[in-house]
């Protein structure tokens, strides 16, 4: 009997799942771009009223000169300063206010990978045009994202100029570091709420990639860790013995003095030599043009002798 009930239940799940989904939009289209969910997004011209759903998207929009077309932002967008007065559409704990988004009458909602497919669907169901921008994993992909957003907003030439200057800055860093042989092991602290088990960046994150590009060896690579955001034991840190500690959690109160005072950290070279530096984590965690700022600042921290 139970097997029958189970089978019946499953069958009904399948049957009642079948409701129609797509509303297609009409109008002559000028801009057509494929997005990160494999959807094709069509706009009848460059977007003029944009709601940004992530800090990285907001930074991209302003960097390519589309800032005046932004009418709303997520709660965590705080850069550049002009975004502060813009109405917030939420975003804490992944909750956005669809009411607020609809009320802003956007012609484009720029979503990011921190947004769920369900959110994209619910906005789409309200008749809004949503573009889902995938996170880049390399600087090249980040440039590509700048081009995509430029295409959506009609700022192609601004974006090309920006990309050229970003590439020149990266090349300048690379040139300075070309002959570096002493590559310090760098421990990047993401969160040390529990100082015996802090979180750090692993392979596949910009934290890891930029430390490598800035002429260092990321702790995770030195220790053979493959997780993206590993929580590592203090024992492992002591054993790997980083020469530099970077406090990505300085915005949350971590300081060099506090690290020195932590029990068990005193034997690490970076702590003994006072090589502990606060850092703006947004420069490596937000996949936008400020990643290049992050690279430059990391290179200066790791190899100050080359940047006098």
């Amino acid at each position: 009997m139970y097997r029958k009930i189970l089978a019946l239940t499953l069958l009904t799940v399948l049957l009642f799942g079948c409701a129609p989904i797509n509303k297609s939009t009409s109008a002559a289209t000028v801009v057509t771009v494929d997005d990160g969910l494999g959807r094709t997004v069509k706009l009848s011209g460059p977007a003029q009223r944009i709601v940004s759903m992530a800090p990285s998207n907001t930074e991209i929009l302003f960097a390519i000169g589309a800032g005046s077309q932004v009418v709303g932002r997520d709660e965590f967008s705080d850069y550049p300063l002009q975004v502060k007065p813009l109405p917030s559409v939420g975003g804490s704990m992944g909750n956005y206010s669809n009411e607020q988004i609809v009320a802003l009458k956007p012609d484009l909602v720029l979503a990011a990978q921190i947004n769920t497919p369900e959110q994209v669907k619910s906005l789409e169901a309200l008749g809004l045009t949503v573009y889902y921008l995938n996170n880049p994993t390399t600087l090249e992909e980040m440039y590509k994202n700048l081009e995509i957003v430029a295409q959506l907003t009609g700022h192609e030439s601004d974006a090309e100029k920006l990309i050229t200057s970003l590439k020149a800055r990266v090349a300048a860093v690379d040139a300075k570091l070309a002959h570096v042989t002493n590559k310090p092991i760098v421990f990047y602290e993401v969160d040390a709420t529990d100082p015996t088990k802090p979180y750090t960046y692993g392979p596949g994150t910009f934290g890891d990639a930029l430390i490598t590009e800035a002429g260092g060896v990321n702790f995770s690579d030195a220790a053979g860790i493959t997780d993206q955001y590993p929580q590592v034991s203090l024992e492992q840190i002591v054993k790997t013995n980083p020469q530099i500690i970077i406090l990505g959690d300085s915005a949350y109160g971590a300081t060099a003095d506090a690290v020195k005072a932590r029990p068990g950290w005193g034997t690490i070279d970076a702590v003994k030599n006072g090589m502990i530096f606060p850092f703006d984590d947004n420069l490596v965690s937000r996949p936008g043009p400020r990643l290049v700022d992050g690279l430059e600042q990391l290179a200066k921290l790791l190899h100050p002798e080359l940047f006098q």
Binding site: Y2, I5, L6, T9, L10, T12, V13, F16, G17, A19, I21, L37, G38, R39, E75, P87, S88, V89, G90, G91, S92, M93, G94, N95, Y96, S97, N98, E99, Q100, V102, A103, K105, I114, T116, P117, E118, Q119, V120, K121, S122, A125, L126, G127, D227, Q228, Y229, Q231
Partner: protein, 331 residues
Amino acid sequence: MKIRPYLFSLLALGLALILSLAIGSVFLSPAQLWDTLIGHGTQVSNAILWDIRLPRTILVALTGMALGGSGAAYQGLFRNPLADPFLIGVASGAGLGAVVAMSIQWPYSFWGLMAIPMAAFVAGLFTIFIVYALARVGKTIPTTNLILAGVAFSAFATSLTSFLMLRSTNDVRRALGWLLGGATQSGWTAILAIVPYLIIGLGILTFSGHALNLLQFGDEQAQQLGLNVTRSKTILLIAASLATAAAVAFSGIIGFIGLIVPHVMRLWFGADYRRLILLSIIGGAAALIVSDVVARVVIAPQEIPVGIVTALVGAPFFLWVLRRAKNQGYW
């Protein structure tokens, strides 16, 4: 049949519905609301009222009905005042199913989006079947066995869920939101998908009042009074779990409603299950709608997961009701 309890609770539900349609993160004046109601709204006010607030309110109401009704049934079935719809594992099973489904990259399509609620629903029901099979002794299902098997299996599923969440850092926000009861995928699809299960589940429970009354005397007494105890228990278990699992699949895990609404109804209107189930269904809807309104406005335009509100507002309210009723021995 006493009519006043029904009138009272339906009035509360009606007020909650009006509140939920009138209040949101975007302010609509009474005049704007009225215009929109009679079909003279602007594009924005139409979208907000008809496409955002109404489907969300209905989904929340249905979820509250499922939690309130099955909570009352579980308390009667287990003869345990601490029983709630999640006691023997629907929530932890569904949570595990959802988190496993989230770890897979589904295509952006109708079925891809349905994968998570379906996984939650199936896993929730599957848990009940496992617990039932574990608890059964011959032809009987002793209540203590059910609770112990359920609690142990829940603990197992919950820790597996936590482990998976720690491993897949990218989806933690999504998973956490789901586990705290965020109505992530609102809209009419969810409502259409859960209504059939609620009708079956809650319909059966509503007409099981007599059986639940008899079960209060204990299994042996109930059997002597002519009730087929094992069959009744099985039917009640399936009906309550079906309704809960369907609601949880789309609304996430929302605590406390299923625990306190039946108690409040019992304190106010008496312990007769022929009345209590239906009253808890109505009361559950009203209570969850009000909680959802609070969740929407307390830090607008941000929203907090409704599961936080139900416990934060529900616990003090329940203590107040309990305190007032302390002189009537009630359970």
